[in-house]
Symmetry: C2
Subunit: 150 residues, 2 copies
C-alpha cells in the first residue's frame, strides 16, 4: 500500500483484471438498476445499445474491486468524493476490464497531521484497449506516521 508520502502528482499505474459475465450484469441490475437494457436481451436489442450492457453503477463497482485489490493502492482512511464519471462505451458480457491510474493532486489535511487528500484519475479499459469509463476519486490517505506510531 502507498501512503501519502509515497505518491507524487503524475505517478501512473496499470492494474487489475475483471471478467464480466452476463449473469453478474443481470444480478446487479435486478438488485440496483432494473432497466430493460441491463436485464433482458430482447429488450436490450431494441435499445440504443443493441445488446445487453452493464449498469454504469455496476461498472463503477467493478472498478472499485480492481482498485481495492491493487497491492499498490492508497492506504485510505475513507473515500470522500468522485468526480467527472463518464460512461464512454458500454460494458458487455464477456468483456475483460482493466484499469489505468494517474495521481492528479495531493494536499495535506489542514486539520490533522496524520493524513492528506489524494485525487486519482482512473480509466477503465476493455480487452480491445477501448476506454469504457473515466472518473476521478479523492481519498483521505494515511501518512506513514500513523501506522509507524502503532
Amino acid at each position: 500500500m502507498r501512503y501519502f508520502e509515497d505518491v507524487e502528482v503524475g505517478l501512473t499505474a496499470e492494474f487489475g483484471t475483471y471478467a464480466v459475465t452476463k449473469d453478474e450484469i443481470r444480478e446487479f441490475a435486478e438488485k440496483y438498476d432494473p432497466q430493460p437494457f441491463h436485464l433482458d436481451e430482447a429488450a436490450a436489442a431494441d435499445s440504443v445499445f443493441g445488446e445487453l450492457v452493464a449498469s454504469g453503477w455496476h461498472t463503477m463497482a467493478m472498478c472499485m474491486r480492481m482498485i481495492a485489490e491493487n497491492p499498490d493502492r492508497l492506504a485510505a482512511f475513507a473515500g470522500v468524493a468522485a468526480d467527472n464519471i463518464r460512461w464512454h462505451r458500454p460494458v458487455r458480457p464477456d468483456d475483460t476490464l482493466h484499469m489505468r491510474s494517474e495521481i492528479l493532486e495531493k494536499r495535506p489535511s489542514s486539520k490533522r497531521d496524520d493524513r492528506g487528500y489524494v485525487t486519482t484519475g482512473f480509466e477503465c479499459l476493455n480487452q480491445d484497449g477501448e476506454v469504457v469509463t473515466t472518473f476521478e476519486a479523492t481519498a483521505l490517505v494515511k501518512r506513514r506516521s500513523v501506522d509507524e506510531a502503532g
Copy 2:
C-alpha cells in the same frame, strides 16, 4: 415517466425508500469493495467510522434503485455522466434512505431531434433527515415523439 418536454429547470421531487441491512452492506463489500470497515465490525470499530458502514459505491447503487423505481423518473435512453459525488456522512446498518431531486439543466441534442440531455441534482438522506450523499447525473432523455411515433 417524464419525457424531455415534461421537465423544467428547478422542478423538484422527493421519492424513494431503502432499508439498509448489515447483511447487504457486507454482501456488496465482499463482491466489490472489500475494505475492513465495510466487512467486519471489529475492524470498523477501529476505523475513522467507528462502526460498520456501507461502501460509497453501494450507496450509489441504492440511490440508483430508488431512481429506477420512481414512477416519475426520466424516460432515459441511457445515463451518460455523473458529477460531484460527495459522501458527506456514513450509511449504516438499519438506516432508511430516501431521495430528493432537482432538475439543474436541460438541452436538446444537437444531432438528433428525438432526444435531449437532462442533468438532475440528487440528495440521498437518512431517516434523521441528514444528507448522506449528493451527486449530479446526466441522462440522454427521450422526447415524447419517440414513443408516440410507435
